[in-house]
């Protein structure tokens, strides 16, 4: 038996558009026990090596469609849920991306199930390497 895996170890990479590196991406699973309509995902904060990234520069991809965090608040289509046990890809804008080598990420999922008096704030941390 091993500890629960939150991040996809093979999911960390820089993202290029038109030959220019525009940001980085990682994949993780929702730290909750059922699939959720994206509209109850109120935030994903991202901090890499101590650097915070603005909310508007963060987007989420599920089932092949990408939404900014603001757009996700209105996504209620059943084809675009964050399914339980499935990785979502999080893309963060950062000119030039992350440098090759070791990094540390702290990302917090803010999920707000309707029945809970307090939201779920799942702190997800890991070390990773950009090739």
């Amino acid at each position: 038996m091993a500890a629960r895996q939150i991040y996809n170890p093979d999911g960390f990479k820089n993202i290029a558009e038109d030959g220019k590196v525009t940001g980085f991406q990682f994949q993780f699973k929702a730290q909750y026990y059922r699939g959720i309509t994206l509209s109850i995902l109120h935030n994903i904060s991202v901090n890499v090596d101590g650097e915070d990234f603005p909310r508007e520069d963060i987007s989420i991809t599920v089932n092949g469609e990408t939404f900014t965090l603001d757009q996700a608040l209105t996504v209620v289509d059943s084809d675009y849920r964050w399914e339980f046990g499935e990785f979502a890809a999080i893309t963060v804008k950062k000119e030039g991306g992350l440098a090759a080598g070791k990094h540390h990420i702290k990302s917090v999922q803010l999920i707000v199930p309707s029945y809970m008096p307090f939201p779920i704030e799942a702190v997800c941390e890991t070390d990773f390497v950009i090739e």
């Binding site: 509209s39 109850i40 059943s78 399914e83 309707s114 029945y115 008096p117």
Partner: protein
């Protein structure tokens, strides 16, 4: 004493294996059947992808019923989530919420479930507005009685008043056995230790819990503001005094986590089951850790099952494993836990 109590497993129990991709929906059904149980409880939003679309599909339903037949399982309860804050700028209107409840009743019926579980956050008028439809599709609505809530309380009285006023046979309760914890689960205590909790602080919290059990818990009031009701409940049960003592003993984050979490468990008199048996449609047999000798460390299984037997209960006791969340740093084995828990239930029922 002979008993017609039936056993079931909620697939919630296998969430860690499902999360890891070790079990899919059919794998969960297979493991459920292997324990010798006959009932299955489902959280559709947990294990049916693209919820609720597939349930509308005849082919999907045919496959579902084929699997139930293959594994000799009977649907016991469908756990619904009334997502009434699906939009962040407003709560759904009463009519919208009733429609959502009707949708869940219909979906549950299509999968063969006789009961849906609804949560304490479901407003009373949403339940009342759905009763006629529940009768039409012949699916009952069971309100989960989950700690810190309890039967025979001001909170439960509000619902009893509604039952008596409407004369409905389609609304009742689903007790969660987390309301019958004699102790704080050992898996939580061990997690606190791994995180650096001190034995002195753990003892303060354990002693305070034992005192609450001995004195009887002050019951929670009915209030749709669940946060407020919960805080009042905690204060009335001595949370401040306990927290102050932990702080004075130099408690750190792990001690505080243990102290705070201790208020998510409670002890009710099993007589509550006997008093309310006519309104109990289903039961979440919540558990946290069953040892090799089939003893659950927190829930008083023999004592509680005895009350169900005395009351003549004929519904399901549905295993709901919740110890895994305290073992995720070291590894979870829900399959073995469910096997042991089913055996513990079987012994208690048949003894």
């Amino acid at each position: 004493m002979a008993s017609d109590i039936k056993r079931s497993i909620s697939l919630y129990s296998y969430q860690d294996e499902y999360y890891d991709g070790v079990l899919d929906l059919e794998g969960c059904l297979r493991e459920t059947a292997k324990t010798g149980t006959t009932g299955v409880e489902l959280l559709a939003e947990q294990m049916i992808k693209k919820f609720p679309k597939p349930i509308e599909d005849e082919e999907f339903r045919a496959h579902w019923f084929e699997m139930l037949k293959k594994y000799n399982l009977t649907p016991s309860c469908y756990d619904a989530f009334l997502e009434n804050r699906i939009y962040s700028n407003r709560t759904l209107s009463l009519g919208e919420q009733v429609n959502m409840m009707k949708r869940d009743l219909r979906l549950a019926g299509m999968l063969g479930f006789p009961v849906i579980r609804t949560l304490v956050s479901t407003p009373m008028d949403v339940i009342e507005g759905s009763l006629e439809y529940a009768e039409k599709v012949n699916v009952k609505i069971g309100l989960e009685v989950h700690a810190p809530f309890s039967l025979n309380s001001g909170w439960a009285d509000g619902y009893m008043e509604m039952i008596n006023r409407t004369g409905t046979k389609y609304f009742g309760f689903i007790p969660d056995m987390g309301i019958f914890c004699k102790n704080i689960p050992d898996v939580l205590r061990d997690k606190a230790r791994r995180q650096g909790a001190s034995e002195e602080c753990l003892k303060i919290v354990d002693d305070a819990y034992a005192q609450r059990v001995a004195k009887g818990f002050v019951k929670i009031k009915y209030d749709l503001d669940l946060g407020k009701a919960n805080m009042e409940y905690r204060m009335a049960n001595g949370m401040k005094e306990m927290m102050d003592a932990v702080e004075k003993a130099g408690g750190g984050p792990a001690d505080m986590m243990y102290a705070g979490t201790s208020f998510t468990y409670s002890w009710s008199d099993p007589q509550d089951i006997i008093d309310n048996i006519d309104y109990i449609f289903h039961t979440h047999a919540k558990f946290y850790n069953v040892h090799e000798d089939y003893v659950e460390t927190a829930v008083a299984i023999p004592e509680v099952v005895e009350a169900y037997k005395k009351a003549g209960y004929t519904g399901f006791l549905s295993s709901e494993y919740e110890g895994g969340e305290h073992l995720r740093d070291v590894g979870v084995d829900s399959i073995e836990q469910c096997r042991r828990h089913q055996e513990a239930l079987r012994r208690a029922i048949e003894s």
